[in-house]
């Protein structure tokens, strides 16, 4: 579409935004793919509407204040990117826009404090773990608290597991097939340490040696997507220094959001001196499921023990796997390798579960509606178990399954593979 965005005044991020806006032909194909449009039915809360709003703000035609509520309601699930035949880079647009507009926002002191707390706690697993523990004890008090504090408590699991120390180096078993670096993820370490333990076991068993670089930190996705651009830049640069792509066959992540975050570095650093290094790093980043699927194609995986009885697994597509990284087939193919396992497709599978990074905390009402809808859709398939590849979806779906009185367990794809290896399925 036409625009009059003063690109030269905004800089490299302006180019990214203008490019995305130009590509939009306002056909409306994105509307049915958008969770907030599905809930609210308003053009402003659709991707097409948001693109127009951002254009108007960038052109100086609309005050940011007027557009902000609708832009804040975007989950960043990228469902619209999958649906868009014109190739609009919506993710790059909204991320750049949030970074550009955040310094101009006039947030309340409470809002500011909440954002700082989230962005400080998330990248620090130990701090997060302590906070989660405190939260766990505060849970009974939830009814007395204001909504803004209730929502994070709601999401905490019944028991916050103990932290696990991960080895800096895990040797390959048998013939060495590859050497990889592994990003451990932040919230995940505190809430579900077994995801990482299972990942190391499965990789080692398949001849992969794993290095966990010590200086690594948070991928920065949460900061980036909430508009804390300076913080995101700092975190990105830290990881670029920590992971040397030349040393590894791949840089792996087992959290969809973190993997997508690493792969976004070239956009984050567009026009800055580290752009080339970011591109080199991003080119090596892979989700654990893609990496294992490639190993499987290229020489096979160690065989899995059959499940002890026929098991039906509902596979949930995490938005940051399916939409942001285009990874759908690989996790399904891996799960199907386990004898006695069958997969179920969830109705409205492309619709976000409502977790979406910090969305749960910032838009609890819409997040809850989406969580309920997702849990209902999952349960309609009558699964024995649910699989997903992202910690955010994991906590959200688990919490809504429980709220609906269901005892169906949810596991990371890699945990299920690990269980199969151990004969625990």
């Amino acid at each position: 579409m036409n625009h009059d965005i003063p690109v030269s005044q905004i800089g490299p991020q302006g180019e990214i935004m203008a490019h995305a806006i130009e590509a939009c032909v306002h056909c409306g194909f994105c509307l049915p793919a958008c969770p907030t449009y599905a809930l609210l039915g308003d053009e402003m809360d659709s991707p097409r509407g948001r693109i127009f709003l951002m254009k108007e703000v960038l052109e100086g035609e609309l005050p940011l204040f007027d557009a902000a509520p609708h832009l804040d309601r975007c989950l960043g699930c990228m469902g619209c990117v999958t649906a868009c035949p014109s190739g609009v880079a919506y993710g790059e647009l909204i991320t750049s826009f949030r970074g550009w507009s955040e310094p101009q926002r006039n947030r309340s002191a409470f809002d500011k404090a909440k954002r700082v707390a989230i962005l400080k706690a998330l990248p620090a697993p130990k701090l997060f773990s302590v906070a989660a523990r405190i939260g766990q004890y505060a849970k009974p008090l939830a009814p007395l608290l204001p909504d803004a504090l209730k929502s994070p408590l709601d999401l905490l699991p019944e028991h916050v597991p103990a932290m696990l120390d991960l080895p800096k180096f895990t040797p390959a078993q048998g013939t060495k097939r590859a050497r990889v670096a592994f990003l451990v993820g932040c919230a995940q370490q505190a809430l579900a340490p077994n995801f990482n333990a299972a990942t190391l076991r499965v990789l080692a068993r398949n001849g992969v040696e794993v290095v966990i670089p010590e200086d690594q930190g948070c991928c920065g996705a949460a900061a980036l997507h909430t508009g804390a651009r300076d913080e995101a830049l700092k975190l990105a640069r830290n990881n670029i220094a920590a992971f040397n792509p030349d040393e590894y066959d791949a840089i792996l992540s087992n959290a969809a959001g973190c993997g997508a975050g690493l792969r976004e570095y070239p956009e984050v650093l567009h026009g800055l001196p580290d752009e080339d290094a970011a591109k080199k790093l991003a080119a090596k980043v892979m989700d654990i499921s893609t990496f294992l699927a490639q190993l499987s194609e290229d020489g096979g995986l160690e065989p899995f023990m059959p499940a002890s009885r026929p098991i039906k697994i509902a596979y949930h597509d995490a938005c940051h796997l399916a939409h942001a990284q285009g990874i759908r087939a690989e996790p399904r193919a891996l799960l199907k390798l386990i004898p006695n396992v069958s997969l179920l497709e969830v109705p409205e599978g492309d619709l976000c579960c409502g977790s979406a990074g910090t969305y749960n905390l910032e838009q609890p009402e819409l997040a809850t509606q989406l969580g309920e809808r997702k849990a209902k859709n999952v349960l309609s398939t009558q699964p024995d178990m649910v699989a997903s590849g992202n910690i955010g979806c994991h906590t959200q779906i688990q919490s809504h399954l429980r709220r609906q009185g269901s005892g169906v367990p949810i596991h990371h794809t890699i945990e299920i593979l690990d269980m199969a290896y151990q004969g625990l399925l």
Partner: protein, 477 residues
Amino acid sequence: MSLFNRRKPEKLALTANSPVSKPRSTEAPSSPLAAELTRLLGPQKVLSAYGERLNYRYDAILVGKTPLCVVLPETTADVVAAVRAARAADVPIVGRGAASGLSGGAAPLEESLVISFTRMTKLTIYPEQREARAQAGVITLAVSEQARPHGLVYPPDPASFRTSTIGGNLGENAGGPMCFKYGVSGDYVKALEFVDVDGGIHELRRDAFDLAGLLIGSEGTLGLITEATLRLTPPPRFTRTLMSHFAEVGQAAEAVSQAIAAGAVPAKLEFMDKACTNAVEDYLQIGLPREAEAVLLVDTDGDDLATVEEELALVEAACQDHGGTVRRAADDAESAALWRARRSISPALGRIRPQRMNEDIVVPRSVLAEVVREIRSLGEASGFHLVQFGHIGDGNLHPNILFDPRTESSEKVHELAYQVAQVAIRHGGVLSGEHGIGAMKRDFMRDAVDAVTLEALWDVKRALDPEGMLNPGKILP
């Protein structure tokens, strides 16, 4: 009013340090109409702030004027209240579905009240009558989805059927790939409820004067369709899909004529040229033949497998006789992928140039090959990207002129579009098969319709909307 994106007259100065300068206004405008509507319908159904209204000025091809106010009705009574209030305030009324239309039908050309039907989504299936009763905002695909458990479907399937609404489809009399064998939206309407310009509610059936037929395809210029009773049919038991590609566009058209003359009645018979194929392949990467000048996509269907296969064989032979390479879809998944490709053409064209003018001509099948070739040479001579696709079984073609308004002249685009329309008219064709005339093709109406007939159309318009308050600036020149 230019046909294309209009630059806004007032511009705020931008400075390097604060790209967004002073807010214009964060207050809702004090339009008396917005105030009255809020009083009548409550704040949840009325959008009056600038940031809320500006997103209701476009459809999928045109950006019009920001409406004065937007109403999101939930019932027919809400529509009546909105219409009466707009009349009292002397403000024109524009109806809007999902705004996926391609002729500018839902884009207001002057300051208007936009009535957006996206919240009127009540849908009831009556399996024993093989009917569905749908409010205007029901998503088209939802009708078939909810009817299917009862062994029924709603055949009209415009390419935008995941997005578009029943009200919008009826307003434009939308077609779709199924139209060759199964007809267009209007063919499935048994009854229609509409609100007239004075706020009166009418329930039309297809008897006496076919007033329902008059409302269908009237693009909101005669009344606002609020509900419809739709005919449902059992889906065919068998469907087979075939794709054929050709080294030359005219060959594809000739193959179509031969197949139909031989007695094949394909359920779908679609055509796309090389540029379309490549734009879609860039999006889906499913292995479409990038080198082919023309691709045909064909479904045959029915309850008797032998007949379905026989018809497919007729099409296959016709394609081969005209130099086509034929590939049959191996299974339902392959067939679904091919149809998804077809449905994505229109928006995928944005990958070539950011803006376009979409034609919707229909010509007799006997002249198809000639028309396709003539339009192609017009495009080549013009220097613009002119691409073609469409429901070729119906003779319904969509020549699209793709352009970049910053570097290419809108006037020249319009000129070329006019020449294309002339080709259709010269060969005994019409200007619109399924997308409506809207604002995009209004200028061509004088060439397509003789003066006496045009006056009759004006008489109808004046009878139902004497003061021209309903979707002004559309259809009639």
